[in-house]
């Protein structure tokens, strides 16, 4: 560099250094994660749970549990099983019928070990929760085993081997209901009852929140100012949406070991996604300024703030959200429906929803009900559509799992990047994957 350039370089260097400092001061800090450390811990946990699952599987055949009618159907895209069905293995203790409709007063020992029973015949799953790759619970319903005024009873199943085998545990409530089950760990779980499963059945409840702190051995009702509609748990906390007489719902928060809920937000929004200690409320409606469209609220450290959501005008008739990491969100926005088609728009945010970048979308067939986002992939499930996946930020979409019926799927979720679960809307089976959704195992219940 010639001498004049060197002098100029020194002056400009100072200008740019100051420029860099001043600009950085206005840049939104990215979401800093201890991701590498968490990733290593996760791998260690996976190794331990894999070892535990292997031991449980080896011992499980003599352990007094039912095996499912397990097709061992490694169902790839297109839904063609590649192995012959396995036969059902009867459980010892046949004749010990399950106890549908158990109330807290007559449920198990309360010592922390749920009173395990068999899977009730005719069980249909409705909601699933995994707290690890091995521990899971299913909420569903089954024909009542003893004469009741209602036709179906609620049923809860538990698995300790990643969903390969299930046992019945006490289920709260009387008549079967539509709802969600969520567990935060092996002891603390919740069920939200949104409404009766069979409208004409007496004994139906709605807006009830049940909690257990002993792994499902006993359940009790939790009082909230309003009717509970959604529950999610993560980061040592449980979040509940509830709607009282006011036109807008409220979000409530409690530590996972307790039943005292604190209101943290009140406003439009029908859905909730959580990751770590953050919650994201979403839905469609009118915001505080009476502007219609999608609703998006970030609740961080117990304080909510409404922000612009991922949906553009024209794709703001429905929205479903998933949190892939503590700061990464994927939003699926839907436009006006026409039969079984709905134009879709997907967007991803890496900064807790402050800004959104559009990514490629699949075709308009189907109505999205559920989205699952791992780091590398995004899965969509819904009515009238197979489960679709993109592994390249939306550039291409493929069928991950064919729908077993015209109703499609009601739910898809992942415990980590490789272990996932899907529930068809018709309650016919449970689908599990351990290879990031490339192949799925179908489990049907007796």
């Amino acid at each position: 560099m010639d001498p004049s350039d060197e002098r100029t370089d020194a002056v400009l260097g100072d200008h740019f250094a100051a420029y860099r400092a001043r600009t950085l001061a206005h840049v939104r800090p990215p979401g800093a994660l201890a991701a590498r450390r968490g990733y290593v811990r996760q791998r260690q946990r996976r190794l331990m749970t894999a070892l535990a699952a292997f031991v449980a599987l080896v011992l499980g055949a003599a352990g007094g549990t039912y095996a499912l009618v397990d097709h061992h159907g490694w169902v790839g895209p297109g839904g063609h099983p590649t192995a012959s069905p396995a036969s059902r293995t009867p459980s010892p203790g046949t004749g010990e019928s399950p106890r549908p409709g158990a109330s807290p007063s007559d449920a198990g020992t309360g010592s922390g070990a749920p009173a395990d029973t068999g899977v009730p015949p005719g069980f249909q799953p409705q909601s699933v929760t995994f707290v690890s790759t091995s521990s899971a619970w299913l909420l569903g319903s089954a024909p009542c085993l003893s004469p009741r005024a209602w036709s179906r009873c609620p049923a809860v199943l538990r698995s300790q081997d990643g969903g390969r085998t299930w046992v019945g545990v006490p289920a709260p409530g009387d008549a079967a209901y539509l709802g969600d089950i969520r567990f935060a760990d092996t002891r603390n779980g919740w069920i939200v009852v949104r409404g009766p499963l069979v409208a004409k059945d007496p004994g139906g409840a709605s807006g009830v929140l049940y909690a257990t702190h002993d792994g499902g051995a006993t359940w009790h009702t939790v009082s909230l100012p309003g009717k509970a509609t959604r529950v999610e748990a993560a980061g040592g906390r449980v979040w509940v949406l509830a709607r009282a007489d006011a036109p807008v719902p409220s979000a409530y928060l409690a530590p996972i070991g307790g039943d005292t809920f604190t209101q943290v937000w009140s406003g439009p929004g029908s859905g909730i996604a959580v990751h770590g200690r953050n919650a994201f409320l979403y839905g469609v409606g009118r915001d505080a300024n009476e502007l219609g469209g999608d609703i998006f609220v970030v609740v961080k450290d117990g304080t909510g703030s409404e922000q612009r959501g991922p949906c553009d005008y024209g794709h703001d008739k429905s929205v479903v959200l998933a949190a892939a990491t503590d700061t990464m969100l994927v939003g699926v926005c839907g436009g006006a429906r026409s039969g079984n088609t709905q134009p879709k728009q997907l967007a991803v945010s890496f900064d807790l929803g402050v800004s959104w970048a559009p990514i490629g979308t699949p075709d308009g067939v189907g109505i999205v009900r559920s989205v699952a986002a791992t780091g590398p992939a995004t899965f969509l499930a819904g009515a009238g559509m197979p489960i679709r996946v993109t592994r390249d930020a939306g550039r291409t979409w493929t069928v991950a799992l064919a729908a077993p019926g015209p109703d499609g799927f009601g739910y898809v979720g992942f415990t980590d990047d490789t272990h996932g679960v899907a529930l068809p809307a018709n309650g016919s089976a449970l689908y599990l994957t351990t290879d990031a959704g490339r192949t799925w195992t179908a489990h049907q219940f007796p």
Binding site: G13, F16, A21, T23, R28, Y39, V348, D351
Partner: protein, 164 residues
């Protein structure tokens, strides 16, 4: 895999925004453009982890997106309008002066200056990044320095030394 991507994002987002901002002069747009580049990087993360310098890939994508949007001004305006309103304090006079001076440079000279002073690349690395001979990069920098100094300098500022 998502963890390493998060770290990568956290480590480089801010500096890349500074560089793109210097190129296009709009902070909100720069943040959006860098966000878009990271979004594309996420889709190719497995590939990128095998590169010697994945940051350079993201920077190139961000720059290309920025230039592409800058040329399609109506599309750029829609993106800007969708961003949140910034309530941060406005830039000081020094940053405005440098923004204005950079805006007057031809795109190639501006890019070379940004890569040299804000990305701390050598002339050889800039030449590889831009796909031109190193002598061409030196020529761009020589002309850009002269133009910038002419725009920025007033006798008082030069005597004061470092700004800020």
């Amino acid at each position: 895999m998502s963890g390493s991507f998060d770290e990568f994002y956290a480590a480089h987002f801010g500096t890349l925004v500074v560089q793109v901002h210097a190129g296009i002069g709009n902070l909100a747009e720069a943040q959006d453009v860098v966000q878009e580049a990271f979004c594309r990087a996420w889709g190719r993360w497995e590939q990128l982890t095998g590169y010697d310098d994945p940051v350079a890939w993201v920077r190139r994508v961000a720059w290309n997106v920025a230039i592409s949007r800058w040329r399609r001004s109506r599309t750029a305006l829609r993106y800007v309008l969708r961003q949140r309103v910034e309530h941060a304090a406005g830039p000081g006079p020094e940053r405005v002066a440098l923004d204005a001076a950079l805006a007057r440079l031809p795109v190639k000279q501006r890019r070379a200056v940004v890569l040299f002073y804000l990305a701390d690349l050598t002339t050889m690395e800039i030449a590889e990044d831009c796909g031109v001979p190193e002598s061409t990069v030196r020529s761009w920098l020589h002309r850009a320095r002269a133009a910038l100094l002419d725009q920025l300098s007033d006798p008082e500022e030069v005597r004061r030394g470092p700004v800020g």
